[in-house]
């Protein structure tokens, strides 16, 4: 089952391609992390997935073949946009009621329960809530829609570490309890290491790496040896004198000293490399 299917997807603004030739197949029930520097095209891809932006080129289907932005796609995907846009002069209770009225399926009781657990006063104006509470309100409204896919665009960027932790805890609980899929964009690499199942790396409008996190980790190693000492078929991602970050085609000879690399290290190496790498797997 794939939750997102993109083929040759692209979006152009004027003469600039914000995203180009993107081919992806993202699995259901996972937390997909969309990583890239600012302006890489992450938001463009997410906006196309949630139907806010129409593709300029290629095809994009969601939730088993529904065109992005179609009624079924809108119904099954909940989106928490960057900076959590909410109607600031409405109360929390009004925001819950309003979101219920804008959707076919909405679990009001669940939303109210979640907000009560978080200690958010229903009579409070949405604009008066703290940053962390606004994020939790936006997330609670999205989850109460009982979506198949939850799309989060840089949700934790404006939050302090504690609020960030609480936010991610809510997301992980919803994934475990309701089996929803999550796509999350971020440039905070460290926090994703623990939660992401699947990684999509975007830079300069192109997908550079796409694959399950464990496979990507297994496929890369940091070798402590000069470049010439590497066996045939090794793809050198980054080279710094005596250290080579390589993508393995075959197991390394046991004699070569090497260690596994983390997501952060791997990601940075790909971004620094700046050349197009074919999708993994």
């Amino acid at each position: 089952m794939s939750i997102i299917e993109a083929r040759g997807l692209g979006r152009r603004y004027g003469k600039r391609w914000a995203l180009e030739d993107c081919t992806l197949s993202l699995p259901e029930g996972r937390l997909v992390a969309l990583i890239g520097p600012n302006g890489a095209g992450k938001s463009t891809l997410l906006n196309m997935i949630v139907g806010l932006t129409a593709p300029t080129a290629g095809e994009l289907t969601v939730l088993d073949g529904h065109p992005a932005g179609s009624p079924a796609a809108l119904d099954g995907i909940a989106f928490v946009a960057q900076d959590m846009p909410l109607y600031r002069n409405l109360t929390v209770a009004d925001m819950v009621h309003l979101t219920r009225n804008l959707n076919v399926s909405f679990d009001t009781a669940a939303a109210n329960r979640r907000l009560a657990d978080l200690g958010i006063d229903p009579k409070q104006k949405a604009g008066k809530l703290s940053g962390g509470q606004q994020a939790q309100l936006a997330l609670s409204l999205a989850l109460a829609r009982q979506p198949r896919l939850l799309v989060l665009d840089e949700p934790t960027a404006p939050l302090d570490p504690l609020a960030r932790h609480d936010f991610m805890a809510t997301v992980m609980t919803a994934m475990a309890e309701d089996g929803i899929s999550v796509i999350l964009s971020s440039h905070l690499l460290a926090e994703l290491e623990k939660v992401a199942d699947h990684l999509v790396l975007i830079a300069d409008g192109r997908v550079r790496v796409d694959g399950p996190v464990d496979e990507l980790i297994d496929a890369h190693r940091l070798v402590t040896a000069p470049r010439g000492a590497l066996p045939q078929g090794c793809d050198v991602i980054e080279s710094s004198g005596s250290h080579q970050l390589v993508r393995l085609a075959a197991p390394l000879p046991a004699a070569l000293p090497s260690r596994p690399v983390g997501i952060e290290e791997l990601t940075l190496a790909y971004f620094r490399q700046g050349t197009l790498i074919g999708a993994a797997s």
Partner: protein, 342 residues
């Protein structure tokens, strides 16, 4: 590549309009209350000044004998007091455009400006249903409120038309009463909605919408006399209840250039000053009446005009093109909305 179950939207019922209507109501009830309050204040002023106007006019009508100096003085002071239209006239003239632009432009533009459209357009209802449930009720309510105000304006101005002070076809009454006032408000709203979506900003949206509305309102004062072929008369005593469109002099059935008429009048010692379409002729003391002189010498003044009885026909013609233009603008706004990328 896709299976049958993947057909988009199968078995999915859309969000009910009543629910979407609740959203619009909840978000804009205070705005609506503010608009109603402004209109109520204006209405109160219209009722009070309308009662003054009526009692003054009743006094003029009740005065006998009509030719007595006292009655002439009453009549003259009635004309002087109420001839100018009062301070409400410019307010009422601009009100449909101001309210329309201020109501129409921010509805979508504010969402685009603050980013809340990312929330609103990704809900299950989708952006088109959301936009329809927002724009249509707002536009209709505004038009209905202005139509109600227009009835009051028509009542208020009735003695002015009866007394021959001001034709109901003059812009001051015509575009602020009847059905046209609602259509002018709808046009302001549609211009606002379109400009708001096009600019994606509230202030440029409001400003350009009002500017365009003002231009069209000015244009309408120029073309209104030509909605229907004007009637023509050679009577010099055209009732001021009608709207005069144009006038010129003829001799023997041929049109005489106004320069020639002016020269003739000057040779008689009259001062000629162009003032709108009318030429005021001020006879010098002791000389012959220059107008009578022209008539005696075979000149005839031709006046084209719209009779007061055409008020409703002209109202519906104006309403027709205004509503047509508004529908086009709203359609363009929806088209832009559908294409708008985040």
């Amino acid at each position: 590549m896709t299976t049958l179950t993947a057909a988009p939207g199968v078995g999915l019922r859309p969000v009910r309009w009543s629910r979407l209507g609740w959203v619009t109501w909840r978000r804009y009830r205070f705005t609506l209350a503010a608009v109603v309050l402004v209109l109520a204040a204006l209405s109160l002023e219209l009722v009070l000044s309308g009662q003054h106007l009526r009692s003054a006019y009743d006094a003029v009508k009740a005065c006998t004998p009509a030719a007595s100096p006292r009655c002439r003085f009453l009549d003259e002071s009635f004309h002087n007091t109420y001839g100018g239209g009062g301070f409400l006239a410019p307010v009422l003239l601009l009100l449909p455009g101001i309210l329309g632009a201020f109501a129409g432009a921010p509805l979508v533009a504010k969402e685009l400006e603050t980013g809340t459209f990312r929330f609103a357009w990704t809900q299950g209802a989708g952006r088109m249903r959301w936009a329809v449930s927002l724009l249509l009720p707002a536009g209709l309510v505004l038009a209905l409120l202005l139509a109600a105000l227009g009835r009051l304006v028509a009542w208020h101005d009735q003695p002015l038309a009866d007394a021959g002070i001001q034709s109901r076809l003059e812009p001051v009454t015509f575009s602020t009463s009847g059905v046209a006032v609602a259509a002018w408000a709808l046009l302001g709203f549609a211009l606002g909605a379109f400009a708001g979506v096009a600019w994606r900003r509230v202030l440029p949206g409001v400003a350009s919408a009002f500017g365009a509305w003002f231009g069209l309102a000015f244009l309408a004062t120029r073309v209104r006399g030509h909605y229907l072929a004007p009637l023509r008369t050679t009577s010099m005593q055209l009732s001021p209840r009608n709207l005069s469109v144009d006038e010129w002099w003829t001799k023997g059935g041929a049109r005489v250039p106004s320069t020639q008429i002016d020269a003739t009048l000057r040779s008689l010692g009259a001062e000629v000053s162009p003032h709108g379409v009318k030429v005021h002729v001020v006879p010098n003391s002791g000389s012959v009446d220059p107008i009578q002189y022209l008539l005696d010498h075979g000149y005839r003044q031709v006046t084209t005009y719209q009779p007061a009885s055409r008020y409703w026909t002209l109202q519906w013609i104006e309403t027709g093109w205004l509503v047509g233009l508004s529908v086009l603008l709203l359609g363009a706004a929806f088209w832009l909305l559908r294409r708008r990328a985040a």
